[in-house]
């Protein structure tokens, strides 16, 4: 490579060496602009103990109250979690979990009694929770066809390759295709209030308003537009393998049926972590005077359809009230209090150091 140790450029003066500012800038006085001379007016902040101290105290004073507020709010949120997996012998759902089979036609039902020590005053949100369920597995996450879900009739009949191996069933395209849809949570949860007088009152559960508004109205759409005849629209497609019913029979309400069924939409938003909860129902507060869920004993009736034992998963039902910050989560409050205190503490240390150092530097200045 180095053999051509001679550069012909040297021979010929006409060759301008390519490089920035080659020929054009020659014999031209550089412009005396602030930018080109690197003399743009500039703000030159210097972080010193003096300038940062107030900030530290400020952050401390600001964060600690917020943290306390968050913590208190989180603590005021009432939350009840019931694990109904049924892996224990003692669990009411043990039988259902043991005798599970996909093609059993007779639903297995179990009832779990529980007791609320405190009344739930505001709207109560009912979640189902799954553990050790990898909704965020790559193979799983990508196993969907968003254009099919968006109502694209082409994709309806010809699902994306990503849906494999849940794209076709007996040569018929699956709608909705993919592993996510196929594994949709299909336990039915019902709540009964055990009146002290012995009657069981079914608590009305709202199944709308649980999905993101944009998902329901933008991202998910039924094929065939506003055609209410779902059977015709979904003609030629197969239901997901694990489903009992086709997608257009999820709900009787046409506004909550097909791809825009909210339970379905909620399920399709894959969870971030293997332990997650998803909103199942909302218990609307009816009366300003009465609590939504008064203190007392309740019964949870589960139609046990969803197997989790094979992957050592857990199933939970969660009842929770909601504050402005969402569900119960003490983390934020604690984090804010910690960071705020640390800042404050550092501020104090800095103040001490600054004080001492300031004296030293003053004396140094005098001596020099």
């Amino acid at each position: 490579m180095m053999a051509s140790s001679y550069n012909a450029k040297d021979e010929d003066g006409n060759i301008t060496v390519s490089g920035p500012g080659g020929g054009a800038l020659r014999s031209k006085k550089p412009e005396n602009t602030a930018f080109k001379q690197q003399r743009l007016p500039a703000w030159q902040p210097i972080l010193t103990a003096g300038t940062v101290l107030p900030a530290f105290f400020g952050i401390g004073l600001f964060f600690i109250p917020i943290g306390i507020g968050l913590y208190v709010t989180s603590n005021n949120i009432k939350e009840l979690e019931i694990d109904y997996t049924g892996s224990d012998m003692s669990s009411p759902c043990f039988n259902c979990s043991q005798s599970f089979s996909w093609n059993s036609t007779k639903p297995c039902t179990c009832t779990i009694p529980f007791h609320l020590d405190q009344p739930y005053d505001s709207n109560v949100f009912m979640y189902y929770g799954l553990s050790n369920f990898y909704q965020n597995h790559r193979r799983y996450v990508k196993s969907r066809d968003d254009s099919q879900l968006n109502g694209d009739s082409g994709s309806l009949m010809k699902p994306s390759k990503e849906c494999e191996p849940y794209a076709y069933f007996e040569k018929k395209p699956i709608a909705p295709c993919g592993a996510i849809a196929n594994s949709m949570f299909n336990d039915t949860l019902e709540l009964f209030y055990n009146n002290p007088n012995g009657t069981k009152v079914k608590i009305p559960l709202t199944s709308t308003g649980i999905a993101w508004w944009t998902d329901k109205h933008v991202k998910f759409r039924n094929p065939g537009g506003s055609n209410p005849n779902f059977t015709a629209v979904f003609q030629g497609t197969a239901k997901p393998v694990n489903w009992r019913r086709p997608v257009y029979e999820l709900d009787s309400d046409p506004e909550n049926n097909g791809f825009i069924n909210e339970d379905f939409i909620v399920w399709m938003r894959t969870a971030a972590l293997p332990t997650f909860r998803k909103l199942y129902r909302i218990i609307q507060k009816k009366d300003d005077l009465l609590p939504t869920l008064p203190r007392g004993s309740y019964t949870l009736e589960v139609v046990y359809n969803y197997p989790v034992r094979s992957f050592e998963g857990r199933k939970r039902m969660i009842l929770s009230t909601i504050s402005w910050m969402g569900g119960k989560n003490p983390f934020l409050g604690i984090a804010y209090i910690t960071v705020g205190s640390v800042c404050f503490f550092l501020g104090v240390i800095l103040l001490i150091i600054h004080h001492k150092y300031g004296n030293r530097s003053n004396s140094a200045d005098i001596s020099s």
Binding site: Y6, D10, K29, P45, F125, T214, S310, F311
Partner: protein, 1130 residues
């Protein structure tokens, strides 16, 4: 490669020592079949590619770069294996980078092709069989007789056979070869017939070697019916390729060396790709990150299979594999999993870093060209940047190798004063410089005492006679007009060459500017040299009479004798020898009683930095002359040891002279040369002066530049100190080296190696070319490395080193030696002439001065500046800033990608090691390109952590960044830890937030894409704000770019999530960002995490400041938190 190898290995052993060249008709065509020896043709090849091999060769060379190769691999993996990200994300940038580079290199090579073509196809006239044939330059063969006309360059190395001038001389300038712009006289080989057609001769000469000033050969001329005549050939007969014929209508010469074997070609080194130390650091960091990447992928793969071995994990009922996945071989699956992880984490080494670094370098170099401080009103040019790769290297320079003539000095000699018999004559012109030359009034003596008129005139005659100056003949006028000479001498011979030094206008040309200065000095005192015609020198004396002297012999100057003499015969028949030379070489040869008077003056002048010469004369008796004449003639013809023999005769003749006087000539220093050198030394840079000049001159320049101080002890290793007489040179060399080493290295207290930290004795080292080659090419193998080491150690402990009498290649050798020494220091060469080209090319950074001596240096340099004084700003301000900028840029890039990818890595632990990306593909691709690239680019262009004025005032600040201080492992680990910390904070902060994913006040939950987007938002803000914290110089551009890119991120995210994109297969981010911002908890966590991440950074800065106030705080009077409007200096 082969050719170079040949040159290295061969030369001595393989080849025969001489080549024989046949000129003209072969001697007696009756001879047996004659096989012409094979020599290389006159073709010059400098191009790298041809049309055919361009693509493969160029691609090969590009993918040899570690980064490019890595990206290629990643791209191929993405194409072949089912990976989490699409091949486009890495393929497109790579393709772009490769294409742009290929186009650039192709264009450059096309230029080289064109240049080669022009050179090779240049029409030259060759005499063949008596006819003049026009040939292409590349077809010249060794032995061809080539005709060259005035102002043409010689197409190959020629032996001068015939000149159009009557006296058998021709003038050439070798400006493009060794940088000397003055005209040199070359002589035809004596006794050549006028009719070249009839010429029949053989030339025996040495094999090509790079030394420009050495040539030994002999020419055997056959005449039809006579004995053959042998003539010796020396460098004065050799016309070098690249030199230009001047003042001579045309010459004919025979080609002896052609093509790549010419001395010019041998002296040039390829302009190899220079890579900065920063790039090496980048590569080192790259390897570290590659290891991180590999280990991450390895850890994930291992854990994946450990995790999957538990039943039900690998393939739960809800997440079945496709049949193809099931069938795949386990080990193959493991391997593809590994590759997939690699691809997922490959963003840790972003291709965009290379693009950003290139952009920063390119745009950054514009600031150098734009700098008006580099603008020189004289030549109306500013700085020129030939390569933008080395900006930051300017901030790392440890050794500066500078040329003397034209770089430290202006190469503009001026006669200052003389001393005749101890009386001082100072010439001061009251008028402006140029007019002063025309004053030809009587001697201006400011001293009341004067030497006797006789001595005065003798001295002036000596000045007029003892030189090799030629009177320039104006090209426009007819040459025959002898009377015209007088006019020219009076300054009328204006020939339109504006750029020529003023003495050219006066009409004197000489090999040494000193001689011109002396002759001009004589003019001022009334003695004018009119010229040399037919070996007769004419002088116009004070009485306006023309005196004629017959020039009998010139005893040429040489560096060992350091004097020259002429032997002339005056009209009256007296034979006189005039000698001038360095004091040390003259004093021993004159009558001692005269010395003292003069020595005083000489010493005083030398101290003032003038170049001093002493003048002596003697009368030669007829016998003496006859003896000298015979000796000289004999010695000149010797083929063996000609130089030694000549020297002996010279020494013999130049004895017993009487001293007449001394002269002082000033070689003006460049503007602010001393100040520049001082501040460079203050910056901890060691300065070596490499010059082809004589030692005394160079030494005085060093004193004048304050490189040597009064108290500097000089260690000399020169021919003079080696010539001790008693011992062999080699032994003496050994002895001296050991002695100096003891002095300079061993006596320094341990730990204090840097001379600037101790106030102990300063040492200066002086070495000359001959001694250097003895050090470097020692005959004993074992000694050779020892000497080299000793030499280096001595030099490294000296404040300044002066190397004089250097050939261009030797300069490069020195640079190379220092460059490759321990610690591989960064070297910088600065020079203005073509003789500096090799060292400019050799050094890490080559700087050309746009001086008077052509454009060679400028063209081969990395940076060109108009004046030496600009070096100070170039290094102390630009170099410092660029180093800090690029160091920060590199560290920041690695940091930001570490904390970008770390959460993604951690996420694998929560998603079953399934290579699920945490961030959306758009974020993955755009993170480095759009969201975080502009602020760092703006930073790396505009940052001035210390303002320029302060940098210039405090040279010591330069030391703070010496030895790659900001890119060593310490800072790198600091940055890496910071990145790790940030990555952990981002991921786990959000992780704990998501322990309850119901983050909205309507109870709805967030999914995995929200998770990723929150982490990403925190990431983008933190990374940008961290840069904001590091920014010390907030111009409006920084504000614009920093806040702008954050705003862009927000706007983009809204936009990206706001629409159903028809070309996307998955609408992952649909309304995720908007939803995210509607949650107060998310807002709170973003603020918290950003603050938490930056807290250590703020603390670090704050804690560092009070305890160790950096010089910037001390020096820069910057009021914190206030706008400081810098004054516009006019």
């Amino acid at each position: 490669m082969l050719r170079r190898l040949n040159r290295l290995l061969g030369g001595d052993e393989r080849r025969v020592d001489s080549r024989t060249i046949y000129v003209g008709r072969q001697p007696g065509s009756t001879n047996e079949a004659f096989i012409p020896p094979k020599f290389c043709d006159n073709r010059i090849v400098s191009s790298k590619y041809t049309v055919w091999n361009f693509l493969p060769k160029n691609l090969f060379e590009q993918f040899r770069r570690i980064a490019n190769f890595y990206f290629l691999i990643i791209f191929l993996v993405q194409v072949i294996v089912d990976t989490p990200t699409s091949p486009v994300t890495s393929g497109l940038p790579l393709f772009f980078v490769i294409t742009v580079t290929a186009i650039k290199q192709g264009y450059e090579d096309w230029l080289r092709h064109k240049a080669d073509y022009e050179v090779n196809k240049y029409r030259v006239t060759v005499l063949e069989d008596g006819r003049r044939i026009s040939k292409e330059s590349e077809k010249i063969k060794v032995g061809d007789v080539v005709e060259v006309v005035e102002d043409e360059t010689f197409p190959c190395d020629l032996i001068l056979l015939q000149s159009s001038r009557d006296d058998g001389t021709c003038f050439v300038t070798t400006a493009s070869l060794d940088g000397e712009s003055n005209h040199k006289t070359h002589y035809t080989v004596p006794d050549i017939e006028k009719d070249l057609e009839m010429l029949c001769a053989t030339i025996e000469c040495e094999q090509p070697q790079p030394d420009l000033y050495k040539f030994v050969g002999r020419m055997q001329i056959y005449r039809n019916n006579q004995e053959s005549v042998v003539r010796s050939l020396g460098p004065e007969n050799l016309l070098l390729k690249g030199a230009t014929l001047k003042n001579t209508k045309k010459i004919c010469g025979v080609a002896v060396y052609t093509g790549m074997e010419t001395k010019m070609a041998l002296n040039y080194q390829g302009k190899s790709q220079k890579r900065s130390a920063v790039e090496k650091s980048i590569n080192a960091f790259l390897l570290v990150y590659l290891c991180i990447l590999l280990s991450k992928a390895l850890v994930c793969t291992t854990l994946k299979y450990v995790w999957q071995s538990k039943p039900g994990q690998d393939e739960p009922w809800y997440n079945e594999k496709t049949p193809r996945e099931k069938e795949t071989n386990l080990y193959l699956k493991m391997f593809t999993d590994f590759l997939s992880f690699m691809v997922l984490f490959n963003f840790i080494i972003p291709v965009s870093m290379y693009v950003t670094v290139e952009m920063q370098k390119f745009l950054g170099s514009l600031f150098i060209t734009w700098d008006k401080d580099f603008f020189d009103p004289e030549i109306k040019e500013g700085a020129l940047v030939n390569t933008s790769d080395l900006n930051e290297e300017l901030g790392q320079v440890e050794y500066v190798f500078t040329d003397k003539t034209g770089t430290l000095t202006q190469n503009n000699m001026e006669f200052i004063e003389c001393c005749i018999d101890g009386f001082q004559y100072t010439y001061r012109d009251t008028a402006s410089e140029l007019d002063g030359f025309c004053v030809t009034d009587g001697p201006v003596s400011k001293l009341p005492q004067k030497a006797s008129t006789e001595r005065e005139e003798l001295f002036l005659r000596a000045l007029c006679l003892c030189h090799t100056v030629q009177v320039k003949e104006p090209t426009e006028q007819d040459q025959g007009q002898g009377g015209g000479l007088l006019d020219q001498v009076d300054g009328l011979g204006v020939d339109g060459e504006v750029l020529q030094p003023p003495q050219e206008e006066k009409g004197f040309i000489a090999s040494s500017p000193d001689e011109i200065a002396l002759v001009k000095g004589a003019v001022r005192y009334g003695f004018t040299f009119l010229g040399l015609e037919n070996k007769v020198m004419k002088i116009l004396n004070r009485n306006k009479d023309v005196e004629m002297y017959e020039l009998l012999h010139v005893l040429n100057f040489d560096p060992v004798r350091r004097r020259m003499s002429v032997i002339v015969r005056s009209r009256s028949g007296d034979t006189l020898l005039f000698c001038k030379g360095a004091d040390a070489s003259i004093f021993p040869r004159v009558r001692q009683e005269e010395v003292e008077r003069i020595r005083m003056h000489v010493d005083r002048n030398a101290k003032e930095g003038y170049r001093t010469l002493c003048v002596a004369y003697k009368y030669l008796s007829a016998e003496e002359y006859a003896q000298a004449d015979a000796g000289l003639r004999e010695a000149r013809l010797a083929l063996q040891d000609r130089e030694e023999k000549l020297m002996a005769v010279y020494n013999q003749v130049e004895t017993g002279m009487s001293l007449i006087g001394a002269t002082a000539v000033e070689d003006r220093l460049q503007e602010e040369a001393a100040e520049t050198m001082e501040s460079l030394q203050g910056a901890g840079i060691k300065i070596w002066v490499l010059t082809g000049d004589k030692m005394e001159t160079a030494k005085s320049t060093c004193y004048a530049c304050r490189l040597f101080q009064r108290n500097t002890e000089l260690l000399e290793l020169t021919v003079r100190t080696l010539e001790d007489g008693r011992m062999r040179r080699e032994a003496r060399l050994h002895e001296l080296l050991i002695e100096y080493h003891k002095k300079a290295v061993q006596d320094v207290p341990p730990g204090v190696t840097r001379s600037w930290c101790s106030d102990s004795q300063d040492y200066g080292f002086i070495i000359d070319g001959a001694s250097l080659s003895m050090v470097l090419n020692c005959s004993h193998e074992s000694n050779s490395s020892l000497y080299k080491n000793l030499f280096l150690q001595i030099c490294q402990n000296c404040t300044a080193v002066l190397c004089c009498r250097m050939a261009p290649l030797q300069k490069a050798q020195i640079v190379k030696m220092v460059k490759n020494s321990k610690g591989s220091p960064i070297t910088l060469s600065i020079g203005d002439g073509a003789n500096d080209v090799s060292m400019i090319l050799e050094a890490h950074v080559g700087i050309g001065i746009k001086g008077k001596e052509g454009r060679q240096a400028v063209r081969n340099s990395d940076y060109a500046i108009p004046k030496l004084k600009h070096l100070k700003k170039l290094l102390l301000a630009h170099g410092h800033l660029y180093y800090v900028r690029i160091a920060h840029l590199v560290q920041y890039f690695f940091y930001k990608n570490l904390c970008f990818i770390l959460p993604q890595f951690l996420y694998q632990f929560f998603c079953g090691y399934s290579q699920q990306p945490l961030y959306d593909a758009a974020y993955l691709t755009m993170y480095n390109i759009c969201f975080t690239s502009m602020p760092i680019l703006a930073y790396s262009l505009l940052e001035q952590h210390i303002c320029i004025d302060v940098l210039l005032e405090n040279a010591t600040l330069y030391r703070a960044i010496a030895k790659n201080a900001m890119l060593r492992w310490g800072p790198f680990i600091k940055w890496t830890l910071q990145g790790v910390f940030h990555g952990l904070v981002f991921f786990f902060g959000v992780r704990y937030l998501f322990s309850n994913p119901a983050l909205q006040n309507n109870g709805q939950v967030f999914g995995n894409w929200s998770y990723g987007t929150i982490v990403f938002t925190v990431l983008v803000f933190t990374v940008t704000l961290k840069l904001a914290l590091d920014t010390r110089h907030w111009t409006w551009l920084n504000h614009f770019v920093i806040w702008g890119s954050l705003a862009f991120y927000v706007v983009f995210s809204f936009f990206w999530g706001g629409i159903i994109w028809p070309f996307l297969s998955q609408q992952r981010l649909c309304s995720v960002f908007a939803k995210m911002l509607s949650s107060l908890s998310v807002w709170l966590v973003i603020i918290l995490l950003i603050l938490l991440s930056l807290l250590p950074e703020i603390l670090l800065v704050v804690f560092r400041n009070p305890f160790a106030p950096r010089p910037r705080q001390a020096a820069a009077a910057v009021t914190p938190l206030s706008y400081k409007h810098l004054k516009e200096h006019e």
